[in-house]
Symmetry: D3
Subunit: 250 residues, 6 copies
């Protein structure tokens, strides 16, 4: 099966890290097709940037020519997730959604550990959006700064291990989620130093996408995730117009 | 004071209706500056369309030249609201947010009445996003179709009055919100037929925007609504790049 | 328009402070009519005192001769608010309600900062009563004592600024509410020292009352905020009997 | 032991019904001392009347000369409960609180059945105040009118049995609470016609009061239920001033 | 009346402690019949052990020959409570349920203090199961180890007094529950050192069981607590088969 | 990989149906090892029976000799799930948990449709246990009776299709879960008649188990899902004693 790994960030180094983590996690026969956003900032970290990230998801979906069996929205915070789920006929899964739901099967309370304070409140909104507050132990973030988003996981390794341990001891977390696409792949390398399961969002998303493809759910033709009726769109690319089924598009 | 009434829908007839309702509601000395989105569908009614609507809000904010004292995001569902609140230094208020918070001062439980079934689940998510589920009596929507978004409030007048009455009787609603920008101004004309207060989103938003301007809250320089640090943006207009403080923009 | 600023506390120095803050905040043409309770303690700080405060609200409403367009219940904790809203045909707004709802438009999570530990749990109940727990970052209170309720805001200025800063840093508050009528007017003087918006309950309540008057909501004749049917009352003043519509009153 | 059965309603026929039900329920050796409010309406049914009811509770507590071991606030909706709990050194229990907590031990979800539509929303607020929404199946009320509050339980017997049955079938209630002091004693007479346990508020309150007396909990001298510090009170009876510890009282 | 005090732990020293506390608390005429589980560990402290504890409850109920008027499930965490409530025609009450519901009448927020860290998360799940999170101030537990479950309350006396005081000061607890059957009876001995009411689970359960017996609720024949229809059971004792009404049992 | 499909019901016809559905769903190379409980009723449908079902899970885990990579608790309601997760070093997933979490990625609100009214309240408790109430649209159950648990899905096919359609129309469900092990495999056959995705618990559980195995989460050695310390157990089989690490077991 072919999974579109869509990075809503415009940083290709982050895409590469995610693609590597995704391929390491995927089943044999699962093909990972990475796509980097062409709209927005190198790394989405705020609500304002998430607006661009959600648009970037739609632009990318409108421009991809390949067929694919499912889509991974590859940014924590899941920008554009609900919209993509409505508009596509294949399954869509978000990085944070996949990480949180998977964590629920590994313990009672999960903590989210990330590398930047600005991400905290946005991630908390994301937990609330998914209705999972009852399962959240804490959101913990590193206070400092980092030199390069592409290598932040190396720079902050020690800090993150320490945050993981503290959230277990102080917040009663049973599971830790390493949050943020730039941390893709880190979970495996620090697992031995953290006494509870660590969930990597990319690996979780790949497996959840495989699950959804395997279950072959039908595209709803009723309810709130049926495909929106076509409307004429202005100010967007032809690709987006086709994606939304705008029958006035050239 | 000058209020930017930003219609995230691309339908100028809806903008006009809202502008009329806004001017009727505004204090003397309040200037309403209507702007119609140049991105997206005539009328936002789904999560997918709200992605475009949020982008439309940013594009409009990036292109407006005038100074203004506050912004009204003129679509129920409040697309892009959180992001605009981060990025701007003036207050921003959303139509549904203003309607719901205002309703809270007029009773215990508010109902949301609207003209299209597809809006129901999206509005419900909006209530949850604002953390106001405990105050929600019900979301009620008309089942049928309508000929023209610009005149839907005339076409569906009877149906909407009936929905208002039923939500009072059956859902214990104390207040009714007429939801959706195309219903702007309808509240006043049906008030005599509905036995509890009806809140018009546009009128509520105008007054809440006036309130926020008058209170002169400082722009946060800490916390999650401080202005995001500048980042280089790609794939967006120069206006948006300036809006986000992208210092590499021309 | 004429706003009745009803202080449920019996301390006229607090009334004066509130009236000054209210007049400073009000629109031109808004007349503030302060009334000091004639029932209860100088300052309401507990559930038991709030029982007296709620009664004081009704006594004051029963004794006021002037016409007015709306009422502000001028004590944090909003004693008697729901009852006054039922019984009056003009809008009623509470200090804490106005502050909290206004704060919701300035950020995601608000903190309540106050000057006395005994107020904390009562304020927390008030947040729960309004169904706004999801928006509350924390209630923070000063631990010490103060010499005079009329000047507590001067005595505790430093402590309160410090509490504001700590709640931003430690509780992820986006907005701070200075709670308690005796702190009326303080927000403006410390705004420059606190890096997020501060909401003053009196100023917020004045503007929300103006909003409600401007929107001209009808008095409900159905639902739970219609005027209670008249019943014979005993043991209360003639003013209260008239207020409640007791048609056996002299 | 001696239990003060305080009726916050001014209707002595309701007091008598409650006293009869209380005596029928009480353990041998438990003495029921009924007191009828001297402030407010014959029957509290709205938020506005509950303000008077709460004051009536304080007036009654301030005027009772007898010693007693615990107090029952004998009105559904529990007016003044939190305040009385602060101010007294003996335990206090409310009718609705006792009924709901007792019901929690008899099933998962309780329904509240009552005789008047105006009571519904106020009771719902009461459930929320006690934090028990998760255990509430429904509030069901009779739609019609009744001739006399003292005999409403006889007039509406059929209707109430029918409501009980419907809430079991349609709302998945495991237990039914007959709510409202005027229904005191009805539970026993209809038990055979309703297929799940029915809880009578008065009987539940008597036993919960006995329980609290037997457990001999200490009066808190810390936390939010310690006795409020004395303050000078105005506009209230000498009895209330003494009750509140006003040391300036004659 | 005769109360079956069923200890789901297999430690008879804990049974004895509980029986002593129960007899000290019970009304005259209430007979306490202690039974020690014959299945499972000396002391239940985890979810896995609670599975055995729930089974132990059923085995004990299936083997008891005496008549009894109500059952107390004598372990914090209430193993098997819901099932026993379905299957028996007499009332059943759990230790934690009784403690928490009783605490709700003594203050707003209760804290749970216990002697072992492993108990914390399981107790928290128990609070959630009962839908009482809104009333929970905190779960606090001692960090260390103890020599003997039968004397843990003596060994840890100082630590527990300290935890009680800290939860009042730091978590705004109004009431403290001493949790865990091995702490039965401790509340009385430390009451003078803790400035708010302390609730002993055994004493609370005895009184709540007395209350339920006195109220004589009918066994439901509808709803989710009616007796399950008989089914053939395998792999369990004859006593359990009879208990469940298995009419194929010898 | 080898998945233990543990049926906590003692009905082998149900085990066979589940095994068939599991094998149809599993990836190539995944081996399904079905085990039927040897303790309890043919079909678990109440809280009381779930106590036996949880014990049956432990007995089965204690008696299985094979190695396996993960365990599926094959009954809706997830009896014994938390305990098994603590005690085992391999992942464990429950049927309802897997179905609900998977559904969360296919829409906003899921409905649970089942074949027996007695299951409704127990399933609702299960949703609450997992903290997923915010995602639940409704629990709908067929009212009638059925001849044979092994063929209930054939007998009730029409009824279940009808319930699915009604929950979409009336409860705004985006996804439907067919609940109860006896319905395993039905989803595929009715998919064309239901306009939204249907989730089969067995298929979801197989894929979630595969996901957890693939992610290779470490067994926690801290937090609340670490393996309980060994304790001497009585009254249980030697297999269970070994399972729990009872080092006094023969």
């Amino acid at each position: 099966m072919k999974l579109l790994l869509l990075n809503p960030n415009t940083s290709s180094s982050v895409t590469e890290r995610m693609a590597t983590a995704a391929r390491a996690a995927a089943n044999p026969g699962t093909d990972i097709v990475p796509v980097t956003a062409t709209v927005g900032p190198p790394y989405i970290a705020t609500r304002a940037e998430a607006v661009l990230g959600a648009m970037a998801v739609m632009e990318a979906l409108g421009s991809v020519k390949d067929d694919y069996d499912a889509v991974i929205v590859g940014a924590f915070g899941d920008p554009g997730l609900g919209g993509a789920r409505e508009i596509l006929s294949v399954p869509v899964v978000g990085l944070s959604e996949a990480a949180m739901l998977t964590s629920c099967m590994l313990g009672r309370r999960f903590a989210i550990v990330t590398f930047s304070a600005t991400l905290g409140p946005w991630y908390r909104e994301c937990v609330a959006y998914h209705g999972l507050e009852a399962r959240l132990a804490a959101v913990r973030f590193a206070g400092g700064t980092f030199a390069d988003i592409g290598s932040v996981q190396d720079e902050m390794r020690e800090t993150i291990v320490d945050l993981c341990r503290r959230t277990i001891d102080e917040d009663e977390a049973d599971v830790v989620i390493l949050a943020g696409a730039p941390l893709a792949g880190l979970a495996a390398t620090i697992a031995a130093e953290v006494p509870v399961p660590i969930v990597d969002g990319v690996a979780a998303a790949v497996h959840q996408a495989q699950t959804l493809v395997a279950l072959r759910p039908r595209k709803p033709i009723a309810g709130s995730f049926q495909r929106p009726a076509p409307k004429p769109l202005i100010g967007v690319s032809v690709g987006v117009r086709h994606l939304y089924g705008d029958d006035t598009a050239p």
